[in-house]
Subunit: 313 residues, 2 copies
């Protein structure tokens, strides 16, 4: 029941010796979602022990080189490793032509299909779902079409309290209805209230990804209450003017978004290469949002599952 983010790259446009370009892996119950794919992503995936086979979906926030130049190598390597499973790439419209050119020149011998699904939303919209998670895209505010992603674990089926099964002599049908959240009406007209007989086995978790963007009014609403917020912090308040002209955020602005959204934890990354030591970003963000962490190559941020206490637990 894992739910964790691992950062593979914390650089912004210019990579440095220690900072790779943007790429992140979200592990949801051992299914891996790749978010952005900067140059060297495949090398980082190997370094930190992620199986390429577990990646079925890639989410590209926007088509700037530092978020996408690793896709060529990754797709080629997947082919050489014998991949046959279809791969879905969620990316802005302009990616279509890039993928076409890539497949034309380097796609010979690919035994798997690469499907591009265009992201084009004006407000949060469901992009994709499995039985355990739903993924929404929402617009960001950058120099090109750019989108954030919200990953939300779905509410699990409710558990029926064991001694209630015996007490009420529940049928299998009644148990199934209760698991789905419904009340149950007995033959004698008695109503068994769901909240008295069941509990949620765990609290659904959520993660939001915001890179690259300048701050804007609606953003905190889009990521309201997330357990973990990744937000770019390319600059600091000292270089705020640069953040404005390039449509990026400062560490303080990232923290403000986290604060206004009521996020539980903030991870900042996408650091400008002008800052050798990232602690300046951390200090700035923590002045208003204590629960800030620095992204770092290979660092994992796990959201532990919160089991609720059922009456029989």
């Amino acid at each position: 029941m894992k739910f964790s983010l691992t950062t593979l790259g914390t650089a912004s446009a210019l990579p440095t010796v220690n900072r790779f370009p943007s790429a992140h892996v979200l592990n949801v119950h051992e299914r891996l979602f790749l978010i952005d794919c900067g140059e060297g992503c495949q090398i980082q995936l190997r370094k930190y022990g992620f199986s390429f086979l577990k990646i079925q979906e890639i989410f590209i926030s926007h088509v700037h080189g530092d978020h996408i130049f690793g896709i060529y190598g990754l797709l080629s390597t997947m082919s050489m490793l014998g991949r046959t499973a279809e791969l879905f790439i969620y990316a802005p419209k302009v990616f279509k032509d890039i993928l076409k050119s890539f497949l034309k020149h380097f796609g010979d011998g690919f035994k798997y299909k690469v499907t591009h699904i265009v992201i084009n939303v004006k407000s949060p919209e469901l992009l994709y779902e499995t039985k355990s998670i739903e993924i929404l895209a929402f617009p960001l505010n950058h120099r090109t079409d750019c989108f954030g992603f919200l990953f939300r674990e779905k509410a699990p089926l409710r558990n029926v309290i064991k001694y209630m099964i015996e007490k009420h002599n529940l049928t299998l049908f009644e148990i199934a209805r209760l698991k789905e959240g419904a009340n149950v009406e007995r033959e004698d007209g008695e109503i068994l209230k769901n909240e008295e007989l069941t509990y949620i086995p765990f609290v659904p978790r959520s993660f939001a990804y915001c890179s690259d963007t300048s701050p804007f009014t609606e953003l905190p609403e889009y990521v309201k209450g997330v357990d973990l917020l990744y937000h770019e912090a390319t600059f600091t308040e000292e270089t705020k003017a640069l953040a404005e002209t390039t449509m990026h955020s400062t560490a303080l602005q990232a923290a403000e978004t986290a604060l206004n959204a009521g996020a539980k934890k903030l991870v900042i990354g996408h650091f400008s290469s002008r800052y050798r030591d990232a602690s300046v970003f951390l200090n700035e963000a923590q002045t208003i949002f204590r629960e800030t962490c620095l992204a770092q190559e290979g660092r994992e941020f796990e959201i532990p599952v919160l089991l609720t206490s059922g009456h029989n637990s």
Copy 2:
């Protein structure tokens, strides 16, 4: 007067945690020639302290991903670093379309021109020269158009032995003629023989690059007598069948080419990811060619300048 090769990547098609894809830098008198540009090349260039500004020419042996996927990031970074100097990329014909697509999507704001010069030779041909070096391309034998490169320092102007200047009371014109290698005829008909009055200040050095290729008859002739030969060694004799079907070489075959060419030193690289420990390649090659070295990320192979002993030195 440096003349040295640094390997940035020793992997073949599949990079590993410790092996980056193919990329090499040849430093000729502090001018850097980049040879192949696999994914992560810009990160490796930084790591090993090479200035991007000193690169004016890139040589691409062939358009397979592991030799080219780093070019997108490198070109973008050069732009962000404010490059204005034209960049010349020597690459097979098919690169034209790839470059066009790249510049269309990522070339906005480039303040420098990227010029693709098509390599298309059937035998060794001069590709490029400066006042100190000439670079030839020659065909290799691979699954796609693929070329090797021969870098030859030009013969320097000859030095005139100091005491000969006094002895013969040489004029400036006569000295200039002697430096160029000519004999000098005096007014009285006497012939001053060049070899008696001059010497070469240093012995010109040479380097050849052969990746990717299966062995073929003409190759040793193409790289005859080079001081340093880089040759791919993707497989070993144990996996020779794979080398044949993929049109690569074994370490032994690389050594045979070095031996037949009379190369002074051999560097092997482009190792298959199936071999964790590269010493197996070294041992195999050294059975017939003692002066073999293993390429390694960041390892530099310098050819020291050999000063000749002039009579006045």
